[in-house]
């Protein structure tokens, strides 16, 4: 099992600066906390936004995550731990939110609309298509895909963040990619994925 120590590698100067910010934030320095928020808001918001597919809901959830961080700053041990903590809390909150409120439209794979334009000529369209197909996956599988492709984590790191066995993560990834290939292959027959 990979611990949070192994999630990201920062150079020493960056780590020391961030360490200092965490320490100052925990002591009540608002400017230091603001810097931490600015540095990590993209990650937290994107995870929530890609998962929930709703910008305002994603912002709300991200705010809750950072407020939670503010309450738990004294338990953060290092910059690597901070990133790991934010990913973990965001993932779990997103999954809880989706289960609780059923915000995700229950769209089956078959109901995903067919493309109206040639995907090869429009990357934006292909990206949107991929997001919509990923949106049809079960919650945990969806979060596995987001952590894999947004955060570029390897399966062991994803397993650690989601408290999930490594083989389950690998199996989620395999199945999700198979679904994506199948759906997009059928829809965009001429595109070799």
């Amino acid at each position: 099992m990979v611990g949070w120590e192994g999630t990201i590698v920062l150079n020493k100067a960056t780590a020391a600066r961030l360490d200092d910010r965490i320490e100052r934030s925990a002591l009540g320095d608002q400017f230091a906390f603001e810097e931490i928020v600015r540095q990590h808001q993209g990650m937290v918001f994107s995870m929530a936004c890609h998962f929930l597919r709703d910008r305002s809901l994603a912002e709300e959830l991200s705010q809750e995550v950072f407020l939670n961080l503010h309450q738990n700053l004294h338990s953060i041990k290092s910059p690597e731990h901070l990133t790991f903590w934010l990913r973990k809390v965001t993932s779990h909150r997103c999954i809880d939110q989706a289960r609780r409120q059923k915000v995700r439209p229950q769209v089956s794979l078959e109901e995903v609309p067919e493309p109206a334009v040639d995907a090869t000529e429009n990357d934006l369209f292909l990206s949107e298509m991929l997001r919509r197909v990923v949106d049809t996956l079960p919650e945990k599988a969806r979060m596995v895909v987001i952590l894999r492709y947004q955060e570029d984590l390897d399966p062991a790191e994803i397993a650690n963040v989601l408290d999930m066995p490594l083989n389950t993560v690998k199996s989620h990834l395999r199945r999700s990619l198979a679904v994506l290939r199948d759906k997009l292959g059928r829809t965009l027959g001429e595109v070799s994925l």
Binding site: Q30, V37, R38, F45, Q63, H74, V134, Y149, R181, L193
Partner: protein
């Protein structure tokens, strides 16, 4: 790396929240008080790698001090007891011998009228030879002196150990203090 991987990376690129996101968050943060770490969380920080070494040194030094103090007390008590024993031996009255047959005869003798009705006084005889008593005293004194010397040597050792422990403890305290100032 397949094209699907590339496309997924593009599709799930990081995005930024609205411009006032941080401002709104900080306003909310300002409304809530900064939580204080619980005592067990503070205690937990002592067992993190940089501080752990100094804590271990401090604990070891404290243990040494405690053991040293206990040992010193025990030895002091032994030396005091030995001194008391020695004094007791020195001030003990000479031992008396049991009554001899002559004494018994004297006790059974009839009371003579010319003595005014008074039985003749019993003569007490000391049978412990002075040489034996002196020998016992000398042996006891020698033993007490040996014990005292041993006690003194042990005391010196304990004091030496205490001084080492004390200096280690002060070093550890200084290091922990410095560590706190320059984390």
């Amino acid at each position: 790396m397949s094209r699907l991987d590339d496309e997924l990376r593009k599709a799930f690129r990081r995005e930024q929240p609205s411009a006032d996101f941080t401002q709104r968050l900080l306003e909310q943060v300002a409304k809530q008080p900064l939580p204080k770490a619980r005592w067990w969380q503070r205690l937990g920080t002592l067992f993190e790698p940089p501080k752990l070494r100094w804590v271990a040194i401090g604990v070891t030094a404290s243990l040494l001090l405690a053991i040293g103090a206990a040992q010193y007390q025990r030895l002091s008590r032994v030396v005091t007891e030995d001194n008391n024993q020695q004094q007791a031996i020195g001030s003990q009255p000479p031992a008396t011998s049991p009554a001899t047959p002559a004494d018994l005869d004297n006790r059974n003798a009839p009371i003579r009228q010319d003595s005014g009705g008074v039985r003749p006084a019993t003569v007490v005889r000391h049978t412990v030879k002075p040489a034996t008593r002196r020998h016992a005293l000398v042996a006891a004194t020698q033993k007490a002196q040996e014990l005292k010397a041993e006690g003194e040597a042990a005391k010196e050792k304990v004091l030496f150990a205490l001084s080492i422990a004390s200096s280690a403890l002060s070093d550890a305290q200084k290091a922990v203090h410095d560590d706190g100032l320059n984390p």
